[in-house]
Amino acid sequence: MRRLLLAFTIFFALVMSAAIPARADQTVWSGLVIAQNVQQPEPIPVELTRIERPLKELFGYNQFQVIGQSQKTLKTGQEDWLATSKFFGLHVDAQGESAAGYVLNLKLYKEKELLLETDAKLSKRSPLIIKGPQVGGGQLLLVLVVQ
C-alpha cells in the first residue's frame, strides 16, 4: 500500500514537472555574419549549425563567417548589448520578456551611421535572421538566437 502510494506520488510529481515549464535565465547569441560563395567553403560556425539549412536555402551562399558576435545572458529582460566587427555594430536593447520571448530593439550601424532599425519579439524557439547590405561579393546577415 505504501509503495503504491509512493509510486503514485512520484508519478504525479513527474507529470506536474512536465506540465509546468521551469523558468531559467536565457542566453541570446547575436552575430554579424558574412555570407559568401567560395570554392572551398569553411565549415559553418557552431552557433549557426541550427539554422544552416535555411541560411543556405534562403540566401544561396555556401560559406558563413562570423565577423562579430555577442552572447548575453538575460536575467531581467531589460539588458542591452553590442555585437561589433571592424566596421559594423549591432546594438540590441531588450525591452521586456513575455511567455513567448523577448521584445528587442535592434540597430545596425555602419561605423556611426544607422543603416537599419527594427523592433522584434524574439521567440525562444525561433531564430531571427536579418538580411543586411551587400558587402563585396557577399552579404551581411544579422542573426539572433536564444540558446
Binding site: 507529470v15 512536465a18 565577423i67 566596421f87 521567440s123 525561433s126 531564430p127 538580411k131 558587402v135 563585396g136
Partner: protein
C-alpha cells in the same frame, strides 16, 4: 401365557415347535382350512417381500437420483460462489486505486493535450517583427519585407536596396 392370536401368528410364521405346536394344532377347529390359510399367508408374505423389495430398490434409485442431483447442484454452485466473490471485487481499497489511476491517466492526457496545442499556436512562438525602418537619406531605394520559414522556425527580415559596401567591410 400367549393368547390365541399370538399363537396363530407364530404358527403362520412357523415359529411354533414341540409341544406348543402339537397343542396349538389340536386346538384348531378346522386344521385343513387353517393350513390353507397358512399357505395363503405364506404366498402373501412372499409376494409382499418381493414387492416391498422392489420398492426398496426404487427407493434406492430415488435416493441415488436425489443424491446425483444434489451433487450436480453442488458442482454448479462453486461458479456461483465465484460470481459472488467477483461481486465483492470492488472493495473500498480497489475503488480508491481505480480512482487514483483514473486521475493519473486524466492528468497525463491533459498534459499531452495541452502540449499538443502548442504547435497549433506556433505562430505566436515564432519570432515576430513588429516594425522596421531604414534611413531614406542613406538608402533611398531600400525596401523591407518579412516572412517566416515555418519549417525551420526562422523569421527573416529581408531588405533590398541597402547601400552596397566594398569587401573591406567584411573584416572582423
Amino acid at each position: 401365557m400367549k393368547t390365541f392370536e399370538e399363537k396363530w401368528t407364530a404358527w403362520l410364521d412357523g415359529q411354533l415347535s414341540g409341544e406348543e405346536l402339537v397343542e396349538f394344532e389340536t386346538s384348531l377347529p378346522d386344521k385343513a382350512a387353517a393350513e390353507a390359510e397358512k399357505r395363503d399367508a405364506k404366498k402373501l408374505g412372499v409376494l409382499l417381500k418381493r414387492e416391498l423389495g422392489a420398492d426398496v430398490l426404487r427407493n434406492e434409485e430415488f435416493f441415488s437420483h436425489q443424491l446425483q442431483e444434489r451433487l450436480a447442484r453442488e458442482s454448479v454452485e462453486p461458479p456461483r460462489k465465484q460470481a459472488a466473490d467477483v461481486s465483492t471485487w470492488w472493495t473500498i481499497r480497489r475503488l480508491f486505486w481505480t480512482g487514483t489511476v483514473s486521475l493519473a491517466l486524466f492528468l497525463v492526457f491533459a498534459v499531452f493535450v495541452m502540449r499538443e496545442k502548442n504547435p497549433a499556436e506556433q505562430s505566436q512562438y515564432l519570432t515576430q517583427i513588429l516594425n522596421a525602418r531604414v534611413d531614406p537619406a542613406i538608402s533611398p531605394n531600400a525596401t523591407i519585407s518579412m516572412f517566416e520559414a515555418k519549417e525551420d522556425h526562422v523569421t527573416v527580415l529581408w531588405t533590398e536596396g541597402l547601400q552596397s559596401l566594398p569587401s573591406d567591410y567584411a573584416a572582423k
